[in-house]
């Protein structure tokens, strides 16, 4: 089991995720923290990025004169086009997603259950105006859905839970959870396990999370 003495910084966590993506993969990086993963992909990995508003071969954020209002990503940030890119319409783009053609989708989350249920679209606050965007499509579409998030909320509440308390985005869809303190795998048969820790031991995590944990 890989391990470091302290929890990973955001950039190190993004680098860890990037390093786990197989050569030649097609990947969608969700809005927020997952976008950092792109900075750590190497040219040798030949990873093609998908953005659900209709493009494969999305490049880095556009700067200066590169900015083109017709070329944006799902976060509505101007980006550049990589060589070999392709454009397609929204239904074709989500068909690509829903049809299981993307190898990996990396998403942020409010909560993940021990069975891989995901909550990342709504806190369920009674006065909130609901908005889902592509979250539910992304959650269930890729061959593997990975979550990148803090393991604990600001108040210390664990975000990996026995049962979601926030509204679900998708059920049994998450296969990995990357957090600063540990990387968790979720197997549909055998459930949650810990692939590696950074800082706390498995026993310490188990106590803080209120869950029985085991190494992978």
């Amino acid at each position: 089991m890989n391990s470091t003495d302290t929890p990973l910084a955001k950039a190190d966590l993004a680098a860890l995720v990037a390093g786990d993506i197989e050569t030649g993969s097609f990947v969608n990086l969700g809005i927020g923290q997952p976008t950092l993963v792109a900075d750590h992909l190497t040219p040798e990995q030949h990873v093609t990025l998908h953005t659900e508003n209709g493009m494969l071969g999305m490049g880095r954020a556009a700067v200066g004169d590169e900015i083109d209002p017709d070329l944006i990503n799902a976060g509505k940030i101007p980006v550049v086009e990589n060589p070999g890119a392709a454009y397609f319409h929204h239904a074709d783009s989500f068909a690509m997603m829903r049809g299981g053609h993307l190898d990996v989708c990396v998403l942020g989350a409010f909560q993940v259950s021990v069975r891989g249920d995901l909550a990342n679209w709504s806190t369920g606050a009674p006065d909130a105006i609901p908005a889902v965007g592509g979250a539910m499509d992304l959650a269930i579409g890729a061959r593997q859905t990975w979550v990148m998030m803090t393991l604990f909320g600001k108040d210390g509440t664990p975000k990996i839970v026995t049962d979601l308390t926030y509204p679900a985005t998708g059920v049994t869809c998450v296969s990995r959870v990357y957090t600063p303190e540990a990387v968790f795998l979720v197997d549909p048969e055998t459930g949650l396990s810990v692939r590696e820790t950074h800082g706390p031991s498995i026993d310490e995590l188990s106590e803080r999370m209120g869950l029985e944990l085991r190494p992978t």
Binding site: T51, E52, N53, G54, M55, D68, P69, D70, L71, I72, N73, K76, E81, Y87, F88, H89, H90, A91, S93, F94, A95, M97, R98, D117, S122, A128, I129, P130, A131, V132, G133, G134, A135, M136, D137, I140, G141, P167, A168, T169, G170, V171
Partner: protein
């Protein structure tokens, strides 16, 4: 057969009260700014509007909602940092909201244009957005039944039309345009330029002219609202 005009006002003149209107665009890209402004001027009311968002800032779709002209929004992402006009109208009960996952929204519109009576999708299964909907387990996977969206009118932005109404788009501004043009009784398209028949390669046409009813040439479209 497509009609051509250089007047956005004329293009939207026939939109009726109570119409369902598909509006293309995702963020700034593909937003048919001049057509939305013309619809605001035109005055039809009680509209059901289908768009990925529910307006932002004070102009365009937000202004249409602010003017009380939209009875219902069908969209995936109404809440944004600057969606204050929709937020206020929604909280005041002045506009209904049907929230649809983005890919399901695109597929429902595609089904509308394609004559599909409805379809099962795994998206949303087991979530609050599946509540009240028919579900079914197909090949071991939970799925939700979704219905097609058809509309009276579509407002779409493309790059170039030929004189038969064949269209090409530009980069990620393509987004909802092709499926929306196909799902509307009357597809109104603003383009930056119009070329003669034969001016577009038949291999690269994205929206065949059969889906296009009115083309408005707007050579220098406004900088669209930014998000």
């Amino acid at each position: 057969m497509a009609r051509f005009t250089d007047s956005a006002a004329q293009a939207v003149a026939d939109v009726k009260d109570g119409a369902t209107v598909l509006i293309g665009g995702f963020g700034a890209a593909g937003q048919p700014v001049e057509l939305i402004e013309a619809l605001l001027e035109q005055g039809s009311t009680g509209l059901t509007v289908v768009n990925n968002n529910a307006g932002n800032g004070e102009v365009g779709l937000a202004a249409l909602i602010g003017a009380g002209r939209v009875a219902k929004m069908i969209c995936s992402f109404p809440r944004q940092s600057d969606s204050q006009i929709f937020d206020a109208a929604y909280r005041a009960g002045k506009v209904q909201l049907e929230l649809v996952p983005q890919g399901t929204l695109a597929e429902r519109i595609r089904a509308g244009g394609a004559g599909i009576g409805g379809f099962f999708t795994p998206t949303g299964y087991g979530t609050p957005l599946a509540e009240g909907k028919e579900t079914r387990v197909i090949d071991g996977r939970g799925q939700v039944f979704e219905s097609p969206i058809r509309a009276d009118v579509a407002l779409v932005k493309a790059l170039t039309a030929d004189r038969l109404g064949n269209l090409v788009y530009r980069k990620t501004a393509r987004n909802f345009g092709p499926v929306m043009a196909a799902a509307a009784e009357h597809a109104i398209v603003q383009v930056s330029n119009v070329v003669d028949v034969g001016g577009l390669d038949p291999e690269v046409i994205v929206t065949p002219g059969i889906y296009v009813d009115t083309v408005v040439e707007i050579p220098h479209p406004s900088a669209p609202v930014s998000a």
